[in-house]
Symmetry: C2
Subunit: 103 residues, 2 copies
DNA sequence: ATAACATATAAGTAAATGCTTATATAAAGG
DNA sequence: CCTTTATATAAGCATTTACTTATATGTTAT
């Protein structure tokens, strides 16, 4: 039941914030530079992502470093997986992806 | 970029509607019985699911049968998969799930 | 034909949401 | 100290959203 998770990911800006800090740990100000919205807006998005378990935060002096916690996507992955039985033709594809990753 | 998809899934009621018709094809009225909301509300949820590619509809006389299209989840699956590189400890788990399915 | 039924669409509304500006909190530097 | 910098929180606002009731559309049955 990934309720809060899906709501967190539903907003495009918030999703973009997540994608950004997934590439590299960043401070709030650094995230802000990538977007055309105010610092509070960024902080609010980060708070929402944190509540959803998608983000971790680390305080260092007056800076707060945020990094993505992709493991927070796991409940969503599991939810989707419940439907994999209905689309067997996709499974080969998925397995292929996994195999590629292993190399 | 599963924008419409994630917005469609973000609402708990709509997600429950999807889950319901994933179990079996149903008419609008049959879906309605499972929820404490009006028929128009159900129709609106179904329309949203359809726009997201999560649902198919088949007209038969005055009935409209809806069934889930779990393949519509694929873009979301693919989006999540982009982050699998960051959580290698989950992969074994996922592979296990897939193997179980094969049996 | 007309009534009953199944669904969709329209219009209105209350609540949620994503932003803003203003302010609080806290750390660092002069 | 006092100012600057980094972030969070508060309050307000406009838009979106998930519902409602009312109505339109289309189909079956009498």
């Amino acid at each position: 039941m990934p309720a809060q998770l899906l709501r967190a990911l539903a907003d495009p800006t918030r999703r973009a914030v997540f994608e950004r800090i997934a590439r590299a740990e960043m401070t709030v100000s650094q995230v802000r530079k990538a977007f055309a919205i105010s610092q509070p807006a960024i902080s609010q998005h980060l708070a929402a992502l944190k509540r959803a378990g998608l983000v971790r935060q680390r305080r260092q002096g007056r800076f707060t470093y945020y990094r993505a916690e992709p493991g927070g996507l796991q409940p969503l992955m599991a939810w989707i997986a419940r439907y994999r039985a209905f689309w067997p033709e996709r499974i080969a594809e998925l397995q292929l992806m996994l195999r590629e990753l292993e190399e």
